[in-house]
């Protein structure tokens, strides 16, 4: 179980900005959580605090009761935390198969790298020997990024807007894959997303706005609220829940 206790994050870039304010969350095993809310509300920052990319300015993070607040990214990874970047970095000279193999290297189960790519809608034959560099499109890189997280045996997997660049066909497949790893490894899955299909996967939805958790409850309970909450998605938000007509209907 992952517990976030009173986590705040302030960052100094010219001026001090409070990114997260006293976040308290208890995320149970074997559940799928979707974190949603307006852009710039602190969702990605929270994911990065969980993974250890940003040290919180106050508060604690506990994994199965163990305080991991001062642990490095590597230590957290080895304890079973995984994180799929919103904008994954590219690597000149590193092949797709090398990257996915690295990801799978700590997994005691023997995985077929080709199958992992298939799960994210990429043909293994076409991609295994390609470099994971700028020659890949944003969507392709994004799928490979997701594959690197699916390759691991994790207690907690965080996916930061996994749907970006994924077409509808593989989107369905992706949703099935989330369910699959969830069942296979009892992984707690945290997905940052605005998408209805992803929200549909959730056991619980967490709404984060202005650096605070404004709501955490079961999916059905919160969906109506999001729809009514005009503050949730401002009109500038291109893919906000409010603008999603299909979802609103």
């Amino acid at each position: 179980m992952l517990e976030i206790q009173g986590v705040s994050l302030t960052m100094e870039e010219g001026q001090t900005a409070e990114i997260l304010r006293h976040i308290n969350l208890r995320l149970a095993e074997k559940k799928i959580y979707v974190i949603t809310g307006p852009n710039g509300g602190g969702k990605s920052s929270l994911a990065k605090v969980i993974m250890g990319v940003y040290p919180p300015s106050e508060g604690k993070i506990l994994l199965d009761g163990q305080d991991i607040t001062s642990k490095t990214i590597t230590e957290r990874a080895l304890l079973g935390l995984g994180y799929a970047f919103q904008n994954p970095p590219r690597f000149k000279g590193l092949k797709v198969k090398e990257l996915v193999k690295l990801a799978a290297s700590t997994n005691p189960d023997k995985l077929n790298i080709g199958d992992l790519l298939h799960d994210v809608g990429l043909c293994a034959q076409d991609y295994l020997d390609r470099d994971a560099d700028a020659s890949l499109s944003g969507g392709e890189m994004k799928r490979i990024e997701i594959a690197t997280v699916l390759a691991r045996k994790l207690k907690v997997a965080v996916f930061d807007e996994p749907e970006a660049g994924i077409d509808l066909w593989s989107f369905q497949r992706l949703a099935e894959t989330f369910k699959f790893i969830h069942e296979k490894y009892d992984t707690t899955i945290i997905i940052i997303s605005h998408q209805e299909r992803i929200l549909d996967l959730a056991d619980e939805i967490i709404l984060i706005a202005n650096g605070e958790v404004s709501e955490q409850s079961a999916k059905d309970k919160i969906l109506n609220k999001i729809l009514k909450n005009e503050d949730c998605c401002s009109s500038q938000c291109e893919k906000g829940v409010i603008q999603d007509a299909e979802f609103a209907g």
């Binding site: 993974m51 990319v53 490095t72 990214i73 590597t74 957290r76 990874a77 080895l78 935390l81 995984g82 994180y83 970047f85 904008n87 994954p88 970095p89 690597f91 000149k92 000279g93 590193l94 092949k95 090398e98 690295l102 990801a103 290297s105 700590t106 690197t148 691991r152």
Partner: protein
């Protein structure tokens, strides 16, 4: 006879574990020590100056020539002139490499001047590896000069690798391409400690529809310094692309001077250059897969120089 040290150096510079198949010439401390020729490839010692002539008969395919040089003594300055005649429509691999093992306090230096004539329709892959080792304070210095003339329809693949070990290097490469001749040049360089490396590459696209692709990747660590000069010259309807990338670390310095020179309105020349440190996102990504920061860095550098 080759000692175990000689063999180790050969392995580093020519991937040779034993005496190579095909034609070869092994030069040690300024003297040729072993040679083999084949029915299609002849190696002849030059009469007017130190060095050899390697003559590949036209239509020779699937053969290789290894010409490693090893320097295992200090206070040596070895200068050779090698000429390669790659016959028309042949397809061969030439592996040249220089390994210096210097345990002493005096300088060891090898300057190799390689002149290639790649005849009509021939394919040449030329691999040049540099390697240096030894605990002594004596400098290990390598100054290779490679001049390639590629005739009509010739295809030249050039691979130049120098990873650590060499204290000072000036590498000069000149390639002239005829009609429909094609060049793919890859350069990999890693310097560390106080090493200095300079690379000057000039490619002349003289023939119609000639093309060149130059990919240079380097890593500069510690207090090392690298200087690159590229000149891509278009004298005809031709295409050329230079891509040079450097990762800079610690207190190293990297200076890159690109030049594209067009003397024909249908010459298409592109130069891309970037110098930067390892992106922190790359490190974070690999660390989030369980690698330590050092392992992540090594993985990134190894991939970059692969």
């Amino acid at each position: 006879m080759l000692s175990s040290l000689d063999k180790e150096m050969l392995e580093k510079v020519a991937d040779l574990h034993e005496i190579p198949q095909g034609a070869y010439n092994i030069r040690r401390n300024g003297v040729g020590v072993q040679r083999n020729t084949t029915a299609n490839i002849d190696i002849v010692t030059k009469k007017d100056k130190p060095g050899i002539d390697v003559i590949v008969k036209p239509y020779t395919t699937g053969e290789s020539v290894h010409i490693p040089v090893i320097v295992t003594e200090e206070n040596i300055t070895d200068l050779v002139y090698n000429t390669f005649e790659i016959g028309a429509y042949s397809d061969v691999l030439v592996v040249a490499g220089c390994g210096i093992h210097n345990c002493g306090d005096q300088k060891s230096q090898h300057d190799g001047i390689h002149n290639f004539f790649v005849r009509k329709g021939a394919k040449l892959k030329y691999v040049e590896k540099h390697y240096g080792q030894g605990d002594g304070r004596g400098a290990r210095v390598l100054n290779p000069k490679t001049i390639i003339e590629a005739e009509e329809g010739a295809v030249v693949e050039l691979e130049m690798v120098q990873i650590k070990g060499i204290d000072n290097t000036l590498r000069e490469t000149e390639v002239r391409l005829g009609d429909k001749a094609k060049l793919v040049l890859t350069e990999r360089l890693l310097t560390y400690l106080g090493q200095e490396a300079q690379s000057k590459i000039t490619v002349e696209l003289n023939g119609v529809d000639s093309s060149a692709q130059i990919i240079s990747r380097s890593v500069a660590q510690d207090e090392s310094r690298q200087e690159f000069y590229f000149d891509l010259v278009g004298r005809n309807r031709a295409r050329g692309h230079i891509q040079c990338d450097a990762i800079i670390m610690h207190a190293a310095q990297v200076l890159s001077t690109p030049r594209v020179s067009a003397y024909h309105s249908q010459a298409q020349l592109i130069h891309e250059a970037a110098i930067g440190r390892i992106e922190s996102e790359q490190l974070v990504k690999l660390m989030s897969l369980g690698l330590s920061e050092k392992e992540a860095e090594d993985t990134i550098l190894k991939g970059f120089l692969a």
